[in-house]
Point group: C2
Chain length 320, copies 2
């Protein structure tokens, strides 16, 4: 059992987390691609979390949170609400720990994701697909089972787990990176990336990347408070979420800039990565590369880490 984390994770807490979660995750490869580097005019280090267990970086945070529970807590199991990669991560962590998992999913969740969650042995509870209904269903479930709720991003343990992705990237890049660009959704990955660079590669700047249509983090950095997305029309479906209290706290301190990209820039970037790198990535992952292309003058001649967050995409519904 890992000690619990009560505030912004420390350097030592990140190191302890990285070691503890190793049995539950892959050390994913870092790929480079000459053709894409020539387009940006920079050295690009793509951290391939599409090859991560459950197909996304979420496995890191899920594993980190699950491993904090003591024996009594574990016996009651894990719970969360999610239609996506976090559900799979929690279900997979519970399977590894041989404890129950209870997942609230919207009744219109993609069948392939429902199937994957079931495949890990989790019990699924369907709800109407509104934030209120999801939360209500989850609260009812937690009250009944005593299971431990793992928040998808606004949780110190989850943030500490996501940090391991950039910690690996820092080790794997051939030279110190000038920049690391994660895509910003709820901010769990971005917070973890920011802490990892702060502690282990302080000369590396962390800039987030976000779709223009869901630019809550961009606006939050300007206003100094959490902002709400009023629009959710983006192909980058993993990035619609607003920042949480914990992720806003870390991002406002350690991430000086958020780069915005348009929907067509995201789709172009996604297609370029598929065609040139021959790998399958989710639309959300294309956002950092789209930002590197759009703001290429900023990155000329630099070493830039780009986090490809996952590869769970419906091949029947590609945007190109």
């Amino acid at each position: 059992m890992l000690p619990k984390i009560a505030s912004v994770p420390t350097r030592q807490e990140l190191l302890d987390t990285q070691i503890a979660i190793q049995p539950l995750i892959h050390r994913t490869p870092v790929l480079r691609c000459t053709a894409l580097e020539e387009m940006v005019g920079a050295e690009l280090y793509f951290k391939c979390e599409n090859f991560q267990k459950v197909g996304a970086f979420k496995m890191r945070g899920g594993a980190s949170a699950a491993l904090r529970l003591n024996t009594n807590e574990m016996a009651k199991g894990l719970a969360t609400h999610s239609s996506g990669n976090h559900a799979q991560a929690v279900a997979r962590a519970a399977q590894y720990l041989e404890v129950p998992a209870y997942i609230v999913m919207p009744e219109d969740a993609p069948k392939v994701k429902v199937k994957a969650v079931k495949g890990y042995g989790a019990e699924i509870f369907y709800c109407v697909n509104t934030p209120e209904d999801r939360l209500a269903a989850l609260e009812k479930l937690v009250a009944k089972t005593g299971a431990h709720f793992i928040h998808p991003f606004d949780d110190w343990h989850v943030i500490a787990g996501q940090a391991s992705c950039a910690m690996e990237l820092i080790e794997q890049a051939e030279a110190p990176l000038d920049y690391v660009i994660p895509p910003v959704g709820g901010g769990g990955l971005t917070s973890g990336t920011a802490l990892a660079c702060h502690y282990f590669s302080p000369a590396t700047k962390v800039w987030g990347a976000e779709p223009e249509n869901v630019d809550d983090a961009y606006r939050a950095l300007k206003s100094g408070k959490i902002e709400i997305n009023l629009d959710n029309r983006t192909v980058a479906d993993g990035l619609r979420t607003n920042l949480g209290d914990r992720t806003f706290q870390i991002i406002s301190q350690h991430v000086p800039r958020i780069l915005l990209v348009s929907e067509s820039e995201i789709i172009t970037a996604m297609r370029l990565i598929w065609e040139r790198m021959k790998i399958v990535i989710e639309p959300s992952c294309a956002v950092p590369f789209a930002a590197a292309l759009r703001y290429r003058e900023e990155f000329a001649g630099k070493k830039v880490g780009l986090i490809l967050t996952g590869g769970n995409v419906d091949l029947g519904k590609l945007p190109f």
Copy 2:
């Protein structure tokens, strides 16, 4: 300059070729995937030539053939006819050697492939898309320029180059492989694979895999002579070609069996590789995995190498 090869390549000729072509190729990774292994009930070692330069194993054979030319021959350049990966390989080899490349392409060749060939600095000559017109255009071009024609598969140098793929796979697999399965088109890769295993891993069986609709190699093994495909309706567009004299000679000696798969099995296998391995592969590459699935009793508990030949696919025209 590599010495020319006058007959079936020897062990030493394969070793010399492997070293000589290194500057022109990538040592591609070998990936495994638990989900797909569970479906077959075997250990599967996927050799990822979709990550090869120009996006396909053809770079190996093209490099091997180009490096045989002496200074006088090189000055006159390289020529071939191809609408696909071999054209890109020859163009790229010529670019590396700083000699001209002349490529005959059908006038209806995909724009993306034409663009790629042009991008390597080759000169393109368009022809009507029939075998006769292609050959006539090529002969005219060779007569005029004196360029050296590199056949896409029926060439000892090309075969020696393709062998390097299985030579790497043999080194990269954690234990001796029981089987290696290449997809069979003109037979260049299959011949090279068969020779590589014969010399460097003699306990490994090489079985080919072929679509039912273009089963010329399957029939050739039965009849003892080269057979012709009368149908070309397969999604595995790289495998429509018949065997040549040299490839038939090697395959009839070293490949005891060809496994056939249906079109729907190919498409299912392709989709599984995209979804589970998160990599982009051409339909032709899915044929060996489709065969491993269909004939899974044969492979139960075995170590099986599967060659993923390339990743140049039109994302706008996916078969699923």
